[in-house]
């Protein structure tokens, strides 16, 4: 099997800041039922999950009941609010991925009901199926072989055959190293985890997913740096690590997440990948994003700015618990639909107004947090422009981190973004760390392998050979 990219991006798909706006992607994606993502309308993407309960043979009837209840509530609300269309994401859990028949069954419960609403009421919808990256259950993980991988791929294939429209994953290659990098705020290790391990694993994984999509007629959507930069985001939000570290880490995920599109994925990108605007700028694919209306799943400093250039707008995930009005998934559905209505209404007034709305969304957050600042559309284009010049994903990752530091420092100097006094020194620490990284991937691997805990992951799974004694 060959994991060579089928596409490379040496220039930006988005040609100017005025073309960089929500609802419109250079390469829209058309689904079987005629829905087109990225062709002018922002659609809500709703995700839901089980309330506190175990998943096992004996609880499967309740699991089925829960999903049936959730999808019915969601679709009914979407119909009642005249949603122009809807994307439903099924993020499978470890249990429902390891045992493909369970995942397939749930996938079918959702798809059938979605078809019913399309037939009865004309409510068009798409199902995004996101199997869990269960490879990490074995410690240290096997990335390219073993039963866990096999069942995960079976889940992909069968769910696609059973009508899942879009395939996605939150892949975890390099996560063990990145976790350690985060708590120690070691950008060297983070860059290695993302630019070497993540990139290599995603090439392998996405060559498989794209093949499955081709075989089944499904759409290969995209990946997300969820296990990486979103962990950083959550830790920063809790005050555990500096926000500037999380911001730099986010930008450093770009070459990694881009691999999905180099391998043939076509979007829509996965909601929780906040690096999505960079994917859209570079690869031109439509993206799903999440922000304030995903506060049910995680708090963040990028609640509005995340929407600037989205083509779908998501709640990330919400448990099926009852709120005063309705079950939480129904509540999220309503909120997403209203958010989308507003964006689409502004856009209906003309491109210049969509751009106004975009800029307000951006301005309302970008001054307050470096993580928001690096998502400002002009900054996204500026950094993307530099990154497409790099052929090597590892070098691009290092460069991305360096550019992020540089841009934040400049923003600080210009008064465009605030960084708390005790975070400022971290910009220098990160910068100094980046400078120690050689530009040669082989050399970097040779250097860094002694700094890493090789009991936690298997270099051979990434085609890396341990050269130190």
């Amino acid at each position: 099997m060959d994991y060579k990219p089928v596409k490379t991006f040496s220039e930006l798909a988005v040609k100017s800041l005025d073309d960089f706006v929500y609802g419109i992607a250079p390469h829209p994606v058309k689904a079987k039922n005629g829905m087109v993502i990225g062709a002018g309308t922002v659609y809500p993407e709703i995700n839901m999950t089980l309330p506190p309960m175990n998943i096992e043979e004996s609880t499967m009837p309740e699991v089925r009941r829960q999903y049936a209840e959730m999808i019915e509530g969601i679709l009914k609300r979407a119909k009642d609010l005249y949603a122009p269309g809807l994307i439903v994401e099924l993020e499978l859990l470890p249990e429902t991925t390891m045992k493909p028949e369970w995942g397939i069954e749930i996938n079918k419960i959702l798809r059938d009901k979605m078809h019913e609403y399309e037939d009865k009421y004309g409510l068009k919808s798409l199902l995004r199926c996101t199997p869990n990256d269960t490879r990490e259950i074995l410690r240290p993980p096997l990335m390219k072989r073993g039963e866990l991988l096999e069942n995960m791929l079976i889940t992909f294939e069968k769910c696609a055959e059973e009508g899942a429209d879009i395939l996605s994953i939150e892949s975890t290659g390099g996560k063990e190293v990145h976790d350690e990098a985060l708590v120690t705020c070691n950008i060297r290790k983070a860059i290695f985890a993302l630019g070497v391990l993540g990139v290599r694993d995603m090439r392998f994984l996405w060559s498989n997913i794209v093949r499955i999509a081709e075989r089944t007629g499904a759409i290969a959507g995209g990946d997300t740096a969820c296990g990486f930069a979103n962990t950083a985001l959550a830790l920063a939000e809790q005050g555990m690590i500096p926000r500037v570290f999380a911001a730099v880490d986010r930008v450093a995920t770009i070459p990694r997440s881009l691999v999905a599109f180099e391998m043939g994925a076509i979007g829509p990108d996965k909601d929780c990948g906040y690096e999505g605007p960079y994917m859209k700028a570079i690869a031109g694919i439509p993206i799903s994003m999440e922000g304030k209306t995903a506060a049910c799943a995680h708090l963040s400093a990028i609640g509005n700015i995340a929407a600037c250039v989205c083509d779908m707008w998501s709640n990330e995930s919400v448990q099926n618990v009852k709120l005063l009005s309705a079950p939480a998934p129904v509540v999220s559905t309503e909120q997403l639909i209203y958010d989308c209505r507003l964006m689409n209404e502004a856009a209906a007034d003309g491109r210049s107004f969509a751009l106004k709305m975009r800029d307000w969304l951006a301005a309302s957050d970008s001054r307050l947090d470096p993580q928001a600042y690096v998502l400002r559309p002009d900054i996204v284009l500026e950094i993307s422009q530099e990154l497409v010049k790099e052929k090597d994903a590892f070098v691009a990752t290092k460069k991305a981190a360096a550019l992020a530091v540089e841009v934040i420092k400049r923003g600080l100097a210009r008064g465009e973004v605030q960084v708390s006094p005790r975070e400022k020194k971290w910009l220098d620490i990160i910068s100094t760390q980046i400078d120690t990284i050689p530009d040669d991937g082989e050399k970097f691997w040779y250097e860094i392998q002694k700094e890493l805990d090789l009991k936690k992951w298997r270099p051979e799974e990434y085609d890396l050979e341990v050269t130190h004694a």
Binding site: T49, L50, N54, I55, L93, E95, C185, L235, I241, W426
Partner: protein, 210 residues
């Protein structure tokens, strides 16, 4: 001779070299090793803990302090024959069955160790039986469980049930934490405590062992 104050400050600043030097100086000046630990090393970490709890220190900074403190402890261990590190309590720690989340749990472990607890970190995806085994083996004062998924949090209950079944529940306190966990849930499953974050977990353990 160096002062406990200075040593505590060096720990606080995460200055490993300085901590090593000051510890040696104190010991060679005739200071009681236990006092060096309590009034110097642990005192420094306590200041760290307070700032950390108030969101005024980052984890990597806390880790540097912890590393500095450990370097000091090493110096003491090497200088004394048959020196037993004092422990304020033993804690078995793990992420419950089916759950692979590591970071939060490890932070809790690190904070507990820095506060003077002995921590047995079992890792992630830990079966109720494994918790029971560990309680038998390490005789801890507290079992601390973590879960980040709504579909694994019920395994906290299973673990408590397993402790009951093994007749060990009365011998240990059980505490729980993780994103989907709440005080209500802790009460519901019969845990002895809940901590919303790593910093408060330390406080909670101290309180439970009073």
């Amino acid at each position: 001779m160096a002062s406990f104050e200075e040593l505590s400050q060096a720990v606080f600043e995460g200055d490993e070299a300085q901590v090593v030097e000051l510890t040696k100086s104190l010991l060679s000046g005739g200071a009681d090793p236990l006092e060096v630990i309590n009034r110097g090393l642990i005192a420094g970490m306590e200041r760290v803990g307070v700032l950390f709890k108030n969101n005024e220190m980052f984890v990597p900074e806390v880790l540097m302090s912890a590393r500095a403190m450990n370097a000091g402890v090493e110096v003491i261990k090497q200088s004394q024959r048959a020196f037993d590190m004092p422990s304020i309590g033993k804690i078995v720690l793990g992420t419950v069955k089916g759950d692979l989340h590591d970071i939060g749990k490890n932070l809790v472990g690190m904070m507990l160790e820095s506060a003077g607890f002995t921590v047995y970190n079992l890792g992630v995806d830990i079966d109720p039986d494994k918790f029971v085994e560990a309680v038998k083996k390490y005789q801890p004062d507290i079992v601390a469980m973590s879960a980040l998924l709504t579909t694994t949090m019920m395994n906290m209950k299973s673990t408590i049930d397993a402790l009951v079944a093994a007749g060990l529940r009365e011998r240990v306190k059980v505490i729980v934490g993780g994103a989907p966990i709440s005080q209500d849930f802790a009460n519901e499953i019969g845990a002895d405590g809940y901590a919303p974050d790593a910093a408060s977990a330390t406080e909670l353990c101290r309180r439970l062992l009073e």
